[in-house]
Point group: C2
Chain length 342, copies 2
């Protein structure tokens, strides 16, 4: 936890003295104990989450400003979200006019104000309007017509940039995305006749955003625990999440089989072994295959693995073991059993 606390402190110092606010993302770890500490950091505007179940966990934490950085396309999910305690100020994304109608109907039925953020695709090619899509104006008009919806801002996540290891390329891609997003936000603000918030960003682009102020908020997630993917970037955050694995067999030909696989660690990349001289070669359902040149590990030895990707690793576990002040305790992971937003 000391490493996570240092990461929280480093991120807070990054935006100190700027207008940029932090919006830590609960989806990264789904661990309330950790999020409580992130929310207490100076410069924090509120929290982000990716599912209604995560929003409920944030509400239970007492978070007053929750942005669901996802679309809703099922009236049941809308109703679930709007049934959260009324003191929570809710924000939701839209990138199709139909979603506005659905959200507006739900908000009217619940008689609850909902802040709406229009998502722009800035290069990730996942969610978000194309800037040139004529339905942007249709959606904005639809939001303005819905009495319980309030056009509050623009979501622009430069997910195609955040993990680029080359810092120059990463910053160039992000700056292009931020410029596109800024123009889009200004256009919507003119349509709405009032200022709008521009939110997005991530761990890999936080330094740039803090320096330029191109976005109003940083939706930072991975910085607090870090992972092997972000570890390649040379960011000022340290590894704080590990998986303890046991060498089931260490063979004379250098093969080492570890007892943690894709059911314990995210399967979209290889974990990193913290033991020098041990190189990870592959991941199967219940095993990590590694190789050692000299005998560093013997059968039965334990070692630490750093997951490739923090979010889908945390999602595999019911709890994390927290090491703090020389003691350990168990911190639950909550909100993972309903991972769908639709």
């Amino acid at each position: 936890m000391a490493a996570a606390e240092r990461n929280i402190d480093r991120m807070a110092r990054l935006v100190a003295g700027t207008e940029v606010r932090l919006r830590p993302h609960y989806k990264a770890h789904k661990c309330p104990e950790l999020m409580r500490r992130q929310l207490a950091a100076p410069g924090t505007a509120g929290a982000a989450c990716q599912t209604v179940a995560e929003a409920a966990e944030l509400a239970a934490l007492g978070c007053a400003d929750v942005l669901l950085t996802n679309q809703l396309a099922d009236p049941r999910r809308v109703a679930e979200l709007l049934a959260l305690p009324p003191e929570v100020d809710l924000g939701v994304l839209v990138d199709r006019p139909e979603q506005v109608d659905l959200l507006g109907a739900g908000a009217a039925a619940a008689r609850r104000r909902v802040r709406v953020f229009v998502e722009l695709d800035v290069g990730l090619r996942r969610g978000g309007f194309d800037a040139a899509d004529p339905d942007v104006a249709v959606a904005v008009g639809a939001i303005e017509e819905q009495p319980w919806l309030e056009l509050a801002g623009v979501q622009a996540y430069e997910g195609h940039a955040v993990l680029e290891p080359d810092v120059e390329l990463r910053h160039r891609r992000a700056a292009d995305a931020h410029a596109l997003a800024g123009r889009f936000r200004d256009r919507l603000a003119r349509l709405a006749g009032r200022p709008l918030v521009l939110t997005g960003g991530g761990t890999g682009t936080a330094d740039l955003i803090a320096a330029t102020g191109a976005l109003d908020e940083i939706q930072c997630g991975s910085y607090v625990l870090m992972d092997a993917a972000y570890g390649r970037l040379g960011l000022p955050f340290e590894a704080a999440l590990f998986c303890v694995a046991t060498a089931l067999s260490a063979h004379p030909d250098g093969r080492v089989v570890l007892d943690a696989g894709m059911k314990s660690l995210s399967g979209d990349g290889l974990p990193r072994a913290l033991t020098p001289g041990v190189r990870v070669l592959g991941l199967s359902d219940e095993h990590t295959r590694a190789r050692q040149a000299a005998t560093v590990l013997r059968t039965g030895d334990r070692l630490l693995l750093q997951p490739w990707h923090v979010d889908p690793t945390m999602n595999l576990h019911d709890a994390v073991v927290v090491v703090e002040d020389g003691r350990t305790h168990t911190a639950p992971i909550r909100g993972r059993h309903a991972v769908r937003a639709g």
Copy 2:
């Protein structure tokens, strides 16, 4: 469930009239309701599992013959396994002499007979002795010296062959592995002075093993639910596991964002959309990115996705919804919260 039942029946017919026995693998789905039906199929010798927690679930199902197709390198795990009800006949793998000592000590302490299977690496390069490793004889000698251990057979899993889409190459690789394994089994049987079981195989090589009788048992797992990876092989088993996803947004440029990602579907390959005209492009934590040429899906529409890989998909969920005789019920997934063998 009808599709799963047909798959169970097809696998049983594959080995009918042969000496080959089935040993369905619980690790594939961890669903007791499904395993109960697999165990009831003709020609079934017992079950396989990959963790002690899975072995406990099999014991709870009343399975009398449980093979843990994994090594144990932690005395606590050995003690947990040997604390299972005494009517369960337990088998465990070894591929290092140290594991024999650990298992022998545990078996002596528990005063319980344990069948030991020596694992041979036949090309997967994960676990298993190299055939030429001089420690093979050391391990066999150590097993024979342990009063509560019984050398029962050889484990040889041709995991490098089972998913090869080219049937000729798949069968050639598997046949080479089976030949190597057969010679190794014969060598160990001579050392032991009695016949030994040769166990291994999988869904992709079951047809070959049934035809040649090269192995005594088939550790088949994926056949019962199937997945997109095995779906490429043209095997006589049908898809029986799907994930219902919602289109969060369907864009005019053909982009479709679905609300199921790596936290709902295994992240080691792309799921397949069952809706014609919809092609899956990518998977992120909570989303599947897809593309459609014409408007097949609209925002809010549902569709079925077939996971790439059944085992690490089932592991993400607490239960499956079973469709049977026009009705649905929920079947728990059990034993997944302790995924480690070490």
